[in-house]
């Protein structure tokens, strides 16, 4: 089962390697990891999507909490979170295919951000599941390259990680 875990950490050198090192040495599998500064520049927020059963996630939370730099760890329940992932995709696009691709993008909420004689570059930000559907739709044109940021997530409603 996939779990989304948000972590607030001190924005110190070496923090990321401590977190990723913990995953590898404890045998946890990371699907994605995204990190960035928060409103407080001294604090970074890390979002990890990991695979495992309940016991694994509980252990993971405890081990993350044990890291000296960790301020807060929260496993976000799937029905209580909003998640997004940003993806950039470069696909083959001959001039006569452009309109077709544009229609798909419009329906799926993606944006064309670059174009060349033979390619188009698309930006899409949505849930991992939506991104997967979009990828299916444009795969037939020939994907040249994909870059993704990894999932970031926030709680629904007024609740925050601190509370």
């Amino acid at each position: 089962m996939k779990h989304t875990i948000s972590i607030l950490v001190e924005n110190h050198a070496g923090v990321l390697s401590r977190i990723s090192g913990l995953f590898s040495r404890r045998g946890f599998n990371i699907d994605s990891l995204a990190v960035g500064e928060t409103d407080d520049p001294e604090i970074s927020r890390v979002t990890i999507v990991a695979d495992g059963d309940e016991h694994t996630v509980e252990q993971l939370e405890k081990q993350l909490n044990k890291l000296i730099d960790t301020l807060k760890v929260k496993a976000l329940a799937p029905d209580e979170l909003l998640s997004r992932e940003l993806q950039l995709i470069k696909i083959n696009a001959q001039p006569k295919q452009r309109n077709e691709i544009l229609t798909i993008c419009e329906i799926m909420g993606a944006k064309i951000i670059d174009i060349s004689q033979t390619t188009m570059t698309i930006e899409i930000s949505d849930t991992t599941m939506h991104l997967a559907r979009f990828e299916e739709l444009i795969r037939p044109y020939g994907i040249k390259e994909i870059v993704r940021t990894g999932v970031i997530a926030i709680q629904k409603g007024a609740e925050t990680i601190r509370k």
């Binding site: 001190e10 090192g21 252990q59 000296i68 960790t70």
Partner: protein, 538 residues
């Protein structure tokens, strides 16, 4: 303004450090230069890992972080085994390493290695100092982190140019760490649940680990057990909490434990684990145990609870604090039936044979410990010698130190050196094998040069006996790479070449005389016991 190197020394002085263990090198020279102007005593070891082990022995006596020092590159790398050993046993260390200058970091210069990166998986925390002004704050934090919550090693890597930088020195009085706040006080509701569970249990058992010692809660545990009449087994790291002769004490559990303890574990209906992390050598089949037994787990580290065993009642906090509350909150009880059942097993002493021309190590250790003073510190190495010691040494009011978690050979002598320096009035005995001794024998030089009168016992069976036994039992007796007789030196002559008095014994009668000599010697003393090559561990 003072040099940061001087500030490092002042930090140590402010922390009340009297003794440090180390080995110098170019990258740590500014610190060594400054150290000569201090009253802090520097113990020069003969290899860096032994500085770490000696600091570990020292810390286990004082209960406070002890300091070891190494230079960059190979010095730091040699120290790694000691850091990992301390991490596995939750021993508070502050490890200081020199590093190449900041502008050279990453250039693969002479004696450069990524020290903090290497040590990352087995330190509680680490620092690479890049701003000299932060040095006092970092030292303050390092000592606090190492010696609070679940103890552990903290590494401070100090580049050469940082040590030379002039800084304003003021040692902080307090530590401000918003991300690190260990839980000390146990949850009241959970404490109540523990009391209820124990009161309704018919066959409760306490399993005590090294965490009880780390929390300095030995007396509190004895008081709790005596009030509730709950029998106690101990992990290897928990040995020494209870006197061996105590009627409630049932010995060490686990793969290499005693029958009484293991029977107690399999028969109990409720097990209170305290300061024990349920290592695989202690509880071989946690799943089986969890099905039949209610588990209460008390630990200062929440991550240990539920890690290796299913727990019914978790309780996070400082062992001493919690034990005091438990003792106050629980009714006294009698459990004569349960205790009688266990005592019966305990009192069946297995018959042991003497092999002619050899010292029986188990008998020897029992005789030795009977003669030693009550407050003796016993340091055991790793291998058969360790298990012989665990199961036969009669602990009274002294301490037992060994590398329990990592099983690091070559620990006993440097750790004994550290222990002796911390407790000069205690007799300190290191028990090792001929294999482990040869991983640490360079420290005879430290013993002589620094005049540390420890007593060393080598159980020479001309084998790496623990592995030999494994090969006999599991690999159809295909004994390979475990015969060391052809390379063994004359240990007595070797000791004498250092100026250390030594003897060799091959019978129990000789051994008994030698024990007298050992106990009477005011100086360091080495005793080689000729042990039969196929002597069994248990």
């Amino acid at each position: 303004m003072i040099k940061a190197a001087e500030a490092m020394v002042k930090c140590l002085e402010n922390e009340g450090i009297r003794v440090v263990f180390g080995y110098p090198g170019a990258a740590i020279c500014p610190f060594y230069d400054a150290l000569t102007h201090s009253d802090i005593r520097h113990i020069l070891v003969r290899r860096e890992d032994n500085a770490g082990h000696a600091a570990s022995g020292y810390a286990r006596m004082t209960g406070k972080p002890a300091v070891c020092i190494a230079t960059s590159g190979p010095g730091a790398m040699n120290l790694m085994t000691a850091i990992a050993t301390a991490y596995a046993d939750s021993i508070p260390l502050v490890c200081i390493t020199g590093q190449v200058s900041t502008d050279q970091i990453g250039c693969d210069v002479f004696q450069e290695v990524d020290t903090t990166g290497t040590a990352e998986p087995f330190v509680k925390y680490s620092y690479l100092i890049k701003d000299a002004a932060q040095l006092p704050k970092i030292f303050k934090e390092a000592f606090y982190i190492a010696g609070s919550g679940r103890n552990g090693p903290v590494l401070i890597d100090v580049p050469f140019d940082i040590q030379q930088t002039m800084i304003d020195f003021e040692y902080p009085e307090t530590v401000e760490l918003r991300t690190y706040k260990p839980t000390i006080k146990g949850n009241g509701l959970q404490i109540k649940k523990v009391c209820e569970a124990l009161q309704t249990s018919e066959r409760p058992l306490i399993c005590a680990g090294g965490g009880v010692i780390a929390a300095k809660a030995e007396k509190e545990l004895v008081a709790f057990a005596e009030k509730t009449k709950i029998p106690v087994v101990s992990t290897m790291m928990g040995l020494g909490i209870f006197p061996s002769e105590h009627p409630l004490f049932m010995g060490m559990l686990g793969m290499h434990g005693v029958r009484t303890a293991n029977e107690a574990v399999s028969k109990c209906d409720t097990m209170l684990l305290i300061g024990a992390r349920v290592g695989d050598r202690a509880v071989r089949s946690p799943k089986f145990l969890a099905e039949t037994t209610k588990i209460i787990h008390i630990d200062v580290d929440p991550a240990e609870i539920g890690k290796n065993i299913h727990v019914d009642i978790p309780l996070v906090g400082d062992c001493r604090n919690i034990l005091e509350e438990l003792t106050a909150g629980i009714d006294s009880a009698e459990r004569s039936e349960w205790l009688a059942e266990l005592s019966e097993v305990k009192n069946t002493v297995p018959k042991e044979d003497e092999t002619e021309g050899y010292v029986n190590p188990k008998m020897f250790i029992r005789k030795l410990s009977a003669k030693l003073p009550e407050n003796t510190v016993c340091s055991a190495d790793v291998g058969q010698n360790q298990i012989w010691t665990c199961n036969n040494f009669q602990f009274k009011h002294g301490k037992f130190i060994t590398s329990g978690g990592m099983g690091t050979m070559g620990y006993s002598i440097p750790a004994a050196i550290g222990a002796k320096l911390a407790s000069p009035d205690s007799e300190v005995v290191a028990i090792c094998g001929d294999g482990s001794f040869q991983m640490e024998m360079m420290e005879l030089a430290t013993i002589v040069q620094e005049k540390v009168p420890i007593k060393i016992i080598i159980m020479r069976n001309n084998r790496l006996g623990m592995v030999r036994e494994l090969q006999t039992n599991v690999y159809k007796d295909n004994q390979t790479a475990v015969h060391i007789a052809d390379g063994n030196p004359d240990f007595v002559m070797l000791a004498k070449s250092y100026g250390i008095n030594a003897e060799r014994v091959s019978t129990m009668a000789e051994a008994e005389k030698a024990i007298e000599h050992l106990c009477n010697s005011k100086e360091a003393y080495l005793l080689e016991c000729n042990v039969w090559r196929n002597e069994s561990t248990l």
